[in-house]
C-alpha cells in the first residue's frame, strides 16, 4: 500500500485515495473549435510511461481534492506531489530519468 503525500493533508495511506489518470490533459477552452483528431486526443490518447509519470490523484476519503503527482512507474516511488493548476515541476531531487 503506497504512502501518498496529499499537498493539503500530508502523507496518508493509499486506501484514502483514488487514482484519476494522467495529469496535465487540458480540456480545450472551446471544444467546438477543435477538430475531430484533437478532440479524440483529449478524450482517449494517454501516455503509457515507463519512468516518471505525471498523474492525478484524489484524496477521496480525506479532503476530497484532486492533485497531481510525479511517480516513477518502475519503482512506485513518488517524486513529488503538487496542487492542481501548478505546472509540472521541472527538475527534481532524485529524478533519475
Amino acid at each position: 500500500m503506497l504512502l501518498i503525500d496529499c499537498p493539503y493533508c500530508g502523507p496518508r495511506p493509499e486506501l484514502e485515495f483514488s487514482y484519476a489518470g494522467q495529469a496535465h490533459v487540458v480540456r480545450p477552452a472551446d471544444p467546438s473549435a477543435v477538430d475531430a483528431d484533437a478532440w479524440a486526443g483529449y478524450l482517449y490518447l494517454r501516455a503509457n510511461t515507463r519512468g516518471v509519470h505525471a498523474e492525478r490523484w484524489r484524496h477521496t476519503h480525506g479532503c476530497a481534492r484532486f492533485f497531481n503527482a510525479l511517480r516513477d512507474t518502475t519503482s512506485d516511488r513518488f517524486l513529488v506531489t503538487y496542487r492542481s493548476g501548478e505546472p509540472r515541476p521541472a527538475s527534481l531531487p532524485g529524478d533519475e530519468t
Binding site: 500500500m1 503506497l2 504512502l3 495511506p13 483514488s18 484519476a20 480540456r27 480545450p28 472551446d30 471544444p31 467546438s32 477543435v34 475531430a36 478532440w39 483529449y42 478524450l43 492525478r56 484524489r58 477521496t60 476530497a64 481534492r65 484532486f66 519503482s75 512506485d76 492542481s84 493548476g85
Partner: protein
C-alpha cells in the same frame, strides 16, 4: 522417562507435565515443548506422509522452515487448522493433533503404493498422462488426484474465532529477535525512537536460545538475553511482539505482521482474538531474519530420522531432547560440528562425523577429533535404510571419482548440514536486488528499493560478535535515518564460531546410479532426477523449471530447497550458478490464515448495508427487499401470500386509479450552491439552467465528454444561487466525483460548492390521481392546486409541522409529489401520509411496481435503457439539450457525424403480437424469422414487463434506426422459436400527458 529426553537441560518447565494426543494416542510432554519436540522425546519419528509419493516423513528442522511435519490441530468442527508445522505448535493440556495425507493410518498408508510407481511419475507426470479423453479431467482424474495428493482438510464448520486487525506506525521496525535483531532494537530504542520488534517464536532470542558456550559482555549468552529482553520491556518506546511473523513487505515500508494470540493456550478467554494482523508503516526497517540451514542431497535423505544439524542442536538445547540414540553427522559445513560436540557432551552416542569436503581441517574438526569423535573426509552417503525410520546408512569416500571404503553404519539419526542460506525473503519482497557473493556462496542483499537494511546472518555475516555489532550498527543507522541521535555501543562476545559456509547442490555419487531417490524439495516431493529431466527436456529458465517440477512451490516456499535446486540445475545446464538466477520470493513468508486477512470484514461487516428511513416500516409491512448497490430497497409489498406478479399488478392499478406511496430516499442528492451554480450546472448538464426560474425543476441529462449518457435526474432551483440536484440511486457517488473533477480542475474559477445530501433527506413519493387530496390536509402553507403548483414546480414549506421541500414531479405519469423532509422525520411523515390516505386507498409500492409504471410511460432508467453507448438522441431525449449553449460536457462529441447516423440504435417500444407473451430482458432483435445463427442482430430488449393496467405485455428496446421502423414486424429469437413483435412508440400510456398535468 524415554531415552530421548535427557535428564537435564532445555528451556522447558519440567515441573509442568502436559498431556496431548497425536493420531488418537496419548503422549506427555512438558510446558515449553513444541509438538515436534514432545513427540521426538516420546520416540516418535514418523510425522506424516509426503505429498506425491506418500513416503513416510519425519522432522527435518525445528522451526518455521519445516517442510515435512505438517499436522492438523483440532479444537472442534470449526477450529481445525490444517498444514501447521509441528515444530511451531506449542503443546497445551488436551491438544489434539492429527497427521495428514494418509489412509487408513500413518504407519500403513495404502497410497504409499504411489512410491512403487515413482519411476513412472516424473516431473509433470499428471499433465503428460491424464490428457485423454479431455472431458475426464474434471470429472474423474482431477478429483482422484486431488484426494491422493493432498495436504490437510479444511474445517467443516464456519470459523467461530475472532480476528483483529491493527494499523501501526513506528520509527524503526526490527524483524527478527535473534542476536542481530536484539542488538538493533536495543541500539535504536536507546535513542528514543519508536521501535517495534517482532519474532515468529514464542520467546525472543533466535539462535541465542540454542547458544550455550558463548559469553556476551562477559556474561553467559542466556543471561545477556534475559537482560536484553528485560531492558526492552521497560522502554515505553518499544513494542515487542512474540509469535508474530512478518509475512510480507509492501511498498513504501508497509510490513504485514501476523500475531498468533491464542493457538498456544489450552482454554483461550472468550472474546480474545485468535490472531491479529498488523499493518505497520515503518520509517525505517531492520531485517534480521537470520539464515536457514540447507539439507544435503543424497539418496534416501528423506527417511524419518534424517534431520538438519541445527535442528539437532535446537532439540538438545531448548527442549533437552536427543534426536537419536546413535547419531551420524554428515556435513559440508563447520557449524554442524557444534551439534556433534554438544550431543556428544550431553551423553548421546555420536558414531561418526562424515565430512563431505576434501579436507576436514580447522578448529571445528580439530575440536571433534580432540573430543574423541571419528571424523572422515571426502565422505558421501550412498543410501539409507529403514521402512518407517532410519536404521542404517551406507557411507563411502569419493576419491578421484571412485567410491572407496564403502561401509554400512547402524544409526537412528542422521544430522546433516550443507551450510546456511541467508533468509532474504523480506528484502527480496521489498523489490531489493540480490547479488551473488562467491566467497559466501550465497545471494545477499545488494541494491535497495525501500528504506531498509539487513543485519546479521540474513546478509551473510557470520560469528556472534560480528552479528551483534552488525545488528547494533543497523539499529543506529536506522534510528539516525529516522532523525534520532543514536550512538553505537560495542558489544563484546566470545563464542565457538564455526564457519557457516557450505556446499550447495547434490552430493557426488561417483557416477553411480543410485537405487533410491535424492530429495531436493521435501514438501513437493521433487528429486534430483526431476530437475535433471527438466534440464534434459530443454528448460533453461529457472522460473520455468520451478513451475515444471514444482520445486520451491510448496507451502514452505522452498526455504530449505531453493538453493540446492538452483545448484543442481546450474550443474545440469553447465552454467555458473549466479547466471541461472533465483526465482522470485513471494509473500507470505509462512502461510497466513484467511481469518487474519479478512479480519473484521466478515458476516454483517463484510459490506455496509444502507437502509432508508422507512426500512423498519417496510419490514413490518411484509416488504420483499432487493439489493440496489449497498441499499436495501422494498421491491413489493405482498398481501396474503400474493406472488410478485399479483402484488405488482395490484400496486400498479392502485397508483393509476387512486394513490400510491413510495420511498425514493435512495436517490442521490447534491446541493449545488454559489453565485456560479447555474453556470456550473449548465456546463455539466445538456440542459440550460440559467433560464430556470426559482421554484421550478427541470429533467437533467448528464453526459460524459464522449457524448454518452452518464446519469439523469430532476434538478430544482430552490434559490437564485442554490440548486437541489437529484441523481440515480447507483450514480450518486460517480456524479459527485465527476462534478468535483470538472469544478476543481477545469473550471476552478467558478464559484460553486457541492455537498452530498443523499442521506439528509427522506423522500416520500405520493403518486396517483388522488395524491393531491391525500397530501393537502397535511400541508398548510403550500397551495397544491395545478395553477399554483404545476408539474415540475418546487416549494419549501411544512408538512405535519416539520420542514419540507415539496417537488411536483412524477416518475409514474400520474399526478405526483415527492415530499422531502429531514431524514429523521421520514418515518413519522410516511406514517402520517399513510393514515391521511387510508380513505383514498393509498397503497405502498416498491421498486418493481415503479419500474413497470415508468416503462408504461417510456421513461428510461440509466443503466437499463443505456449502457454507456447511448446518446440523448438515441434515447429520444434530444429535446432536453439546450440549443444555445456554447459548451457543455459531451457537446463536442455529440457534434460528430457518427452520433447522428440514421442506423444508430434508438429507443422504441415493442408490442408482442401475442399480448400474453412477455419478452426476456436482454433478448436480441432480428429482422428475419426462422434463421439459424449467425444472424444479424439489430437490437436488444432493455425492459419488459406485464402491464396490468394495459392488459398486455410491454417492452422497450434499442433497435437500429428504430424510430423509422414504427409499425414494422421484427423477431425476437428464443430457444423455442421466434417471437414476432411490432415496433411502436416507446410511450404506452397517456401519451398526451393529461394525467401528469392534472
Amino acid at each position: 522417562m524415554s531415552p530421548y529426553r535427557l535428564a537435564s537441560g532445555g528451556r522447558i518447565d519440567r515441573a509442568r507435565q502436559v498431556g496431548f494426543t497425536f493420531d488418537g494416542r496419548r503422549y506427555a510432554g512438558f510446558a515449553g515443548d513444541t509438538l515436534a519436540s514432545a513427540l521426538l522425546a516420546n520416540g516418535v519419528r514418523l510425522f506424516g506422509r509426503s505429498f506425491k509419493y506418500h513416503r513416510p516423513r519425519g522432522l527435518l528442522g525445528a522451526g518455521s522452515e519445516e517442510p515435512n511435519a505438517l499436522v492438523s490441530v483440532v479444537r472442534d468442527a470449526g477450529r481445525c487448522t490444517p498444514n501447521v508445522r509441528a515444530t511451531q505448535v506449542e503443546i497445551y493440556e488436551g491438544l489434539v493433533a492429527e497427521s495428514q495425507n494418509r489412509w487408513p493410518v500413518l504407519a500403513f498408508d495404502i497410497m504409499a503404493l504411489n512410491d512403487l510407481f515413482a519411476p513412472l511419475m516424473p516431473a509433470a507426470f499428471y499433465y503428460k498422462t491424464f490428457m485423454w479423453p479431455r472431458s475426464a479431467w474434471h470429472r474423474w482424474y482431477e478429483p482422484v488426484i486431488r484426494r491422493a495428493a493432498g495436504l490437510g482438510r479444511a474445517p467443516s464448520a464456519p470459523d467461530p474465532d475472532r480476528y483483529a486487525q491493527r494499523f501501526a506506525h513506528c520509527d524503526v521496525l526490527v524483524v527478527g529477535a535473534g542476536p542481530a535483531g536484539l542488538a538493533a532494537a536495543l541500539a535504536a530504542s536507546a535513542s528514543g525512537a519508536r521501535v517495534m520488534l517482532c519474532d515468529e517464536q514464542p520467546e525472543p532470542g533466535g539462535s541465542l536460545l540454542d547458544e550455550h558456550a558463548a559469553t556476551i559482555d562477559g556474561q553467559p549468552a542466556q543471561r545477556w538475553l534475559s537482560v536484553a529482553i528485560a531492558t526492552l520491556a521497560t522502554r515505553p518506546n518499544v513494542t515487542l511482539l512474540k509469535r508474530t511473523t512478518a509475512f510480507g513487505y509492501f511498498p513504501h515500508n508497509l510490513v504485514g505482521l501476523c500475531e498468533r494470540l491464542t493457538d498456544h493456550l489450552a482454554a483461550p478467554l472468550t472474546g480474545t482474538p485468535r490472531e491479529r494482523l498488523w499493518q505497520v508503516r515503518a520509517r525505517e526497517v531492520v531485517i534480521a531474519t537470520g539464515a536457514v540451514e540447507r539439507p544435503l542431497v543424497f539418496p534416501g535423505n528423506d527417511r524419518p530420522g534424517v534431520m538438519l544439524a541445527s535442528a539437532g542442536s535446537t532439540y538438545l538445547h531448548r527442549y533437552g531432547v536427543s534426536v537419536g540414540s546413535r547419531i551420524v553427522v554428515v556435513t559440508g559445513c563447520d557449524a554442524a560440528y557444534a551439534a556433534a560436540l554438544d550431543l556428544h557432551t550431553a551423553g548421546a552416542t555420536v558414531a561418526l562425523v562424515a565430512d563431505v569436503r576434501d579436507t576436514a581441517a580447522g578448529a571445528a574438526p580439530a575440536a571433534a577429533r580432540e573430543a574423541g569423535l571419528e571424523v572422515v573426509e571426502r565422505a558421501t552417503v550412498l543410501g539409507t535404510s529403514g521402512r518407517l525410520g532410519l536404521r542404517s546408512i551406507e557411507l563411502g569416500s569419493l576419491v578421484d571419482g571412485t567410491i572407496l571404503n564403502r561401509r554400512t553404519i547402524a544409526c537412528d539419526a542422521l544430522l546433516m548440514s550443507g551450510g546456511y542460506t541467508p533468509s532474504v525473503h523480506l528484502f527480496s519482497q521489498s523489490r531489493g536486488k540480490l547479488a551473488w557473493d562467491a566467497a559466501r556462496q550465497a545471494f545477499l542483499p545488494d541494491r535497495h528499493a525501500e528504506r531498509e537494511r539487513s543485519a546479521g546472518a540474513c546478509r551473510g555475516v557470520d560469528g556472534l560478535e560480528s552479528v551483534l555489532a552488525d545488528g547494533a550498527q543497523a539499529g543506529v543507522t536506522a534510528a539516525r535515518a529516522a532523525d534520532r541521535d543514536a550512538e553505537w555501543q560495542p558489544i563484546r562476545a566470545a563464542a565457538r564460531d564455526f564457519n557457516a559456509l557450505g556446499v550447495p547442490g547434490a552430493l557426488r555419487q561417483g557416477g553411480r546410479q543410485a537405487r533410491s531417490r535424492a530429495f531436493v524439495d521435501f514438501q513437493n516431493d521433487v528429486t534430483t532426477k526431476d530437475l535433471a529431466l527438466a534440464a534434459r527436456e530443454g528448460f533453461v529458465s529457472i522460473e520455468h523449471i520451478k513451475r515444471y517440477t514444482t520445486a520451491g512451490m510448496a507451502t514452505d516456499q522452498g526455504k530449505t530447497s531453493n538453493m540446492n535446486a538452483l545448484a543442481i540445475v546450474a550443474d545440469g545446464l553447465a552454467r555458473p550458478l549466479p547466471d541461472v538466477g533465483l526465482t522470485t520470493f513471494r509473500m507470505p513468508y509462512t502461510p497466513v490464515s484467511f481469518g487474519a486477512l479478512a479480519g473484521y470484514d466478515r458476516g454483517d461487516l463484510f459490506d455496509p448495508v444502507r437502509t432508508t428511513p422507512t426500512h423498519e416500516w417496510a419490514r413490518r409491512h411484509g416488504a420483499v427487499f432487493e439489493d440496489v448497490g449497498q441499499w436495501k430497497r422494498a421491491r413489493y409489498f405482498p398481501r396474503d401470500g400474493e406472488s410478485m406478479h399479483l402484488a405488482v399488478a395490484r400496486e400498479c392499478r392502485a397508483v393509476r386509479a387512486a394513490c400510491g406511496i413510495f420511498d425514493a430516499s435512495t436517490l442521490g442528492k447534491i446541493e449545488v450552491v454559489g453565485p456560479d451554480a447555474a453556470a456550473f450546472l449548465s456546463r455539466m448538464y445538456v440542459n440550460d439552467f440559467a433560464s430556470l426560474a426559482v421554484g421550478r425543476c427541470r429533467y437533467g441529462i448528464l453526459l460524459r465528454d464522449d457524448g454518452f449518457i452518464c446519469d439523469d435526474g430532476v434538478i430544482a432551483r430552490v434559490g437564485y444561487d442554490r440548486f437541489h440536484v437529484t441523481t440515480t440511486t447507483g450514480g450518486a457517488g460517480r456524479v459527485l466525483s465527476l462534478m468535483e473533477d470538472y469544478l476543481q480542475t477545469e473550471w476552478p474559477d467558478l464559484r460553486a460548492w457541492l455537498t452530498s445530501t443523499t442521506e439528509q433527506w427522506a423522500v416520500v413519493a405520493v403518486q396517483g390521481p388522488k395524491s393531491r387530496e391525500v397530501l393537502a390536509p397535511l400541508i398548510t402553507d403550500v397551495d397544491l392546486s395545478a395553477a399554483a403548483l404545476p408539474h415540475l414546480a418546487v416549494r419549501d414549506g411544512r408538512i405535519c409541522g416539520v420542514p419540507m421541500r415539496l417537488f411536483r414531479v412524477s416518475f409514474t405519469g400520474e399526478l405526483g409529489f415527492e415530499v422531502n423532509v429531514p431524514a429523521d422525520y421520514g418515518p413519522s411523515v410516511w406514517e402520517a401520509v399513510c393514515s391521511a390516505g387510508r380513505e383514498s386507498g393509498i397503497t405502498p409500492y416498491g421498486t418493481e411496481t415503479m419500474h413497470v409504471l415508468r416503462a408504461e410511460k417510456g421513461y428510461i432508467i440509466v443503466g437499463q435503457e443505456t449502457d454507456g453507448t447511448v446518446t440523448p438522441y438515441d434515447a429520444g431525449l434530444g429535446w432536453a439539450i439546450g440549443r444555445n449553449k456554447a459548451d457543455f460536457v459531451g457537446k463536442r462529441s455529440l457534434a460528430r457525424p457518427a452520433m447522428h447516423a440514421a442506423d444508430r440504435r434508438q429507443l422504441v417500444g415493442l408490442s408482442t403480437v401475442d399480448p400474453a407473451v412477455v419478452l426476456e430482458e436482454g433478448a436480441q432483435v432480428v429482422e428475419q424469422p426462422a434463421r439459424a445463427p449467425p444472424m444479424r442482430l439489430i437490437g436488444h430488449v432493455t425492459s419488459s414487463y406485464s402491464s396490468a393496467v394495459l392488459g398486455r405485455s410491454i417492452a422497450l428496446a434499442l433497435v437500429e434506426g428504430g424510430r423509422s421502423r414504427t409499425g414494422q414486424t421484427l423477431y425476437v429469437p428464443m430457444p423455442h422459436g421466434d417471437i414476432p413483435v411490432t415496433v411502436t412508440q416507446p410511450v404506452f400510456y397517456d401519451a398526451e400527458g393529461t394525467r401528469l398535468h392534472a
